[in-house]
């Protein structure tokens, strides 16, 4: 019997999940063991030191689970919740960056180049399809060429957003997300 697309996909996802659990347990576990044991020995003993100890134990727990069996449900739950926490932190940072961009870049450009309202007797315009074979192949070049015609003044903002989007994409789409955030 031929396997259905959805069954194949579910099986693939299960495999991927086990690999992700393993990577999370080993790399994330080891990195927080290293970072927080260093912090523990480097700083004077205080209430924060207790937190460091807890985090080191959390790291040891993750490494142990990943080594014994990465299929453990608890490891999956830890991975998902840790990633979620770091994603929330990431989104908060992103929102602050966007807030700054709005007032530093968008508002001045918007006020200077605001489109004027013309009085007409029709709101019809010529249709321009967004499906255009002649546009450049790569996403960002495509975006730049879309703006270059009528909205050239938005290109600086676009470049800033593109850089952020690359950073965000790398950070949020990878299993190493918690690891990268932990480093900071």
């Amino acid at each position: 019997m031929v396997d259905t697309y959805i069954n194949l996909k579910n099986r693939k996802n299960l495999k991927k999940e086990v690999i992700n659990n393993y990577i999370f347990g080993i790399f994330f576990g080891f990195s927080i063991i290293l970072i927080f044991s260093f912090n523990f020995f480097y700083n004077k003993f205080s209430f924060v030191s207790l937190l460091y100890i807890l985090l080191v134990f959390y790291g040891i727990f993750c490494v142990l689970l990943a080594t014994i069996n990465p299929k453990f449900k608890i490891l999956k739950k830890l991975r998902i919740s840790t990633t979620r926490v770091f994603n929330i932190l990431g989104i908060c940072c992103l929102d602050i960056v966007l807030l700054c961009i709005y007032y530093i870049v968008v508002v001045p450009i918007g006020l200077i180049f605001k489109e004027k309202k013309e009085v007409t007797n029709s709101s019809f315009t010529t249709f321009e399809t967004s499906y255009n074979k002649t546009l450049p192949k790569y996403r960002y070049l495509k975006l730049l060429s879309l703006f270059s015609k009528d909205y050239f003044y938005m290109i600086p903002l676009l470049i800033i957003l593109i850089i952020i989007s690359i950073l965000v994409f790398v950070l949020t789409s990878s299993i190493f997300t918690p690891l990268i955030y932990t480093m900071f």
């Binding site: 697309y5 989104i91 966007l98 709101s123």
Partner: protein, 591 residues
């Protein structure tokens, strides 16, 4: 050549598969996941399409998505610039979503489908709608009109289709949107945007269009050519999260209605007014399209094309002789439209026109077989008790029960693509019983009592009951009950009390303004329902039945035998037909 069309991530995800221009399968994701209007990636729908054609994802030649994310991103950036310094919250919410997700849509889709698949083609939203309406239509040449909330930039487009080519000539761009204007009223009247617009439409006949002139004076300028300009002072969708603002509420002198609160006469009048304004706009638009294209045929798609009252109005008043509306006109239909447009328009393949239309009765979803051991096993496990009948006997049995005033669910054959249940996932009943509408609404569908039901009628008998000059196989237009069948309503009866009045010999399917959302049934598209109607006619001399979708409020239409049986058990439905199995409530009591 196989092309897979996908629509997703906004609302009503769907997938459609075509082979050399022929529609093989199409389905909405909500039917499988049981989440109404599900916007997640349509994995189940894709899986069904591939199974139907016995293919693997690697066998697909092209994968087409129904809109272009980069153009949409451009519109969002430009809109934020035009609205400074207001709109900071909207900027953060939307840009943050775009930077983390939507900008990478093609890659995300590719990842969902598996790495070995070819590149995803991002098509144009309104070209997808146009393709969904024109290519399956029975016309080799037709004017095309698409109207919805918003795609990339366009909110309304018109053009002409000839053989395998579509030429979109003009458009109305965001923020001027007919769809969003109607949605604003949907929100104001306490319903959900993008889901409940049909409720506003159903409420409209109870009221009077008292506010039409106010809407035209303050909210929208309607130009002679049907194009519009919205007064953004009253709307919030360009700089906020909701569609309307406080000025909108002030204009009508009351706050927006809370969901499930009592519907007042004023609410009915407002619904009636916006419906009236919509009819006027769309008629003007259609006449402009006729003058520009000089074509007698019109095809329509986009969410607004699902407004059956407006389509009925167009059929009666526009200059067009023939009108075809895509049965899945909303975003779900975009999946089919982008696949067809790419095959014909972009790849320049020859088109063969089917005189009936190429939608195959819109029966493009998964099938419930008449006899299937696996289904029997599942039903037995659920404790179901039923009897098998041969088709002819089954029809007789159903008619016998209908004549007793019983309400019967039908789940057999292929599932419908689009929002309408056309007889394969339907609840049917005798329309001559005066309280049938409230019985089905309150005991089975658990929905608002004001909402009307649609009739299914034998094509050859449709003229006996309705003022109808064409066929209506997809239930996409309203028609009036014939003058001689209309029973005058007492003058002092108003509002929801109108429901209790007998308005015609088929009161359960006659709305308070004597209109009906008719589905004509012929023996080619749905032979089972056709024979059922014939049998009902021979027993009762009435060739009309009530037809409403097989679901309860807030749930999608049932997909398979399990959904159908669960729905039957959880409501006060009397009987259900699943394949050729007949279930009665007396034998299937909840333990």
């Amino acid at each position: 050549m196989y092309i897979l069309g996908i629509s997703a991530y906004y609302h009503d995800s769907a997938a459609a598969l075509i082979r050399n221009g022929e529609i093989i399968a199409a389905a909405q994701e909500e039917r499988f996941t049981r989440i109404k209007g599900d916007k997640s990636f349509p994995n189940h729908a894709i899986s069904y399409c591939l199974e139907e054609a016995k293919l693997n994802i690697e066998d697909i030649d092209h994968i087409v998505f129904y809109e272009n994310n980069l153009s949409k991103f451009q519109r969002i950036i430009v809109t934020h610039h035009n609205n400074v310094p207001k709109g900071i919250i909207s900027f953060i919410v939307s840009i943050s979503k775009w930077l983390t997700n939507d900008l990478w849509l093609d890659q995300k889709i590719q990842k969902e489908l598996g790495k070995k698949t070819s590149k995803v083609i991002m098509y144009d939203h309104h070209l997808s709608h146009a393709g969904s309406a024109f290519y399956p239509s029975p016309f080799s040449k037709a004017a095309i009109l698409t109207i919805d909330g918003v795609g990339e930039w366009a909110t309304t487009t018109y053009g002409i289709g000839h053989n395998n080519k579509i030429n979109i000539m003009k458009c109305i761009n965001f923020p001027n949107s007919i769809g969003l204007l109607y949605s604003a009223f949907t929100q104001y009247l306490g319903f959900r945007i993008n889901f409940d617009e049909y409720k506003v439409m159903g409420l409209a006949p109870y009221g009077k269009p008292k506010y039409s002139s106010l809407i035209k004076k303050e909210l929208v300028t309607i130009y002679d050519d049907g194009s519009i300009k919205l007064n953004l002072k009253y709307f919030n969708y360009t700089r906020g999260i909701s569609t309307i603002n406080k000025n909108f509420e002030k204009l009508f002198g009351k706050k927006k209605r809370q969901p499930d609160s009592k519907i007042t006469t004023k609410d009915m009048d407002i619904a009636s007014s916006i419906q009236d304004v919509l009819n006027e706009i769309v008629l003007k638009l259609a006449n402009t399209v006729y003058d520009e294209t000089k074509c007698d045929n019109l095809v329509l798609a986009g969410g607004v094309a699902l407004n059956v009252v407006t389509i009925g109005y167009l059929k009666r008043h526009s200059k067009f002789k023939n009108i075809f509306v895509q049965p899945a006109s909303g975003d779900a239909g975009g999946a089919l439209g982008c696949a067809l447009s790419y095959y014909y328009d972009a790849l320049d393949n020859k088109r063969i026109v089917n005189k009936q239309d190429s939608m195959k009765g819109s029966l493009l979803g998964p099938s419930i077989n008449d006899h299937d051991d696996l289904i029997d096993e599942q039903l037995t496990l659920m404790g179901a008790k039923y009897k098998y009948y041969e088709e002819k006997t089954l029809i007789k049995k159903i008619v016998q029960e209908l004549a007793k005033g019983k309400v019967i669910g039908i789940a057999r054959g292929k599932m419908e693509y689009g929002p309408r249940a056309l007889g394969n996932r339907s609840i049917i009943a005798d329309p001559r019983i005066i309280d049938m509408q409230s019985t089905i609404n309150l005991k089975i569908k658990y929905r608002e009592s004001f909402r009307p039901f649609a009739p299914i009628v034998l094509l050859e008998d449709s003229k006996k009951y309705f003022d109808i000059n064409d066929e209506s196989p997809y239930m996409l237009s309203t028609y009036y009950i014939k003058k001689e069948l209309q029973i005058p309503i007492k003058k002092n009866v108003k509002g929801l009390d109108l429901l209790k009045e007998k308005k015609s010999p088929i009161p359960a399917v006659t709305h308070v303004d004597y209109s009906s959302r008719v589905q004509t049934v012929d023996k080619y598209r749905n032979p089972f329902i056709y024979n059922l109607l014939k049998e009902f006619k021979s027993k009762t001399d009435c060739s009309v039945l009530v037809n409403t979708s097989f679901n309860v409020r807030g749930e999608p239409i049932v997909c398979n035998e399990i959904d159908a049986y669960n729905c039957f058990m959880n409501t006060e439905m009397d009987c259900v037909v699943i394949g050729n199995r007949f279930f009665e409530k007396e034998n299937n009591k909840k333990v």
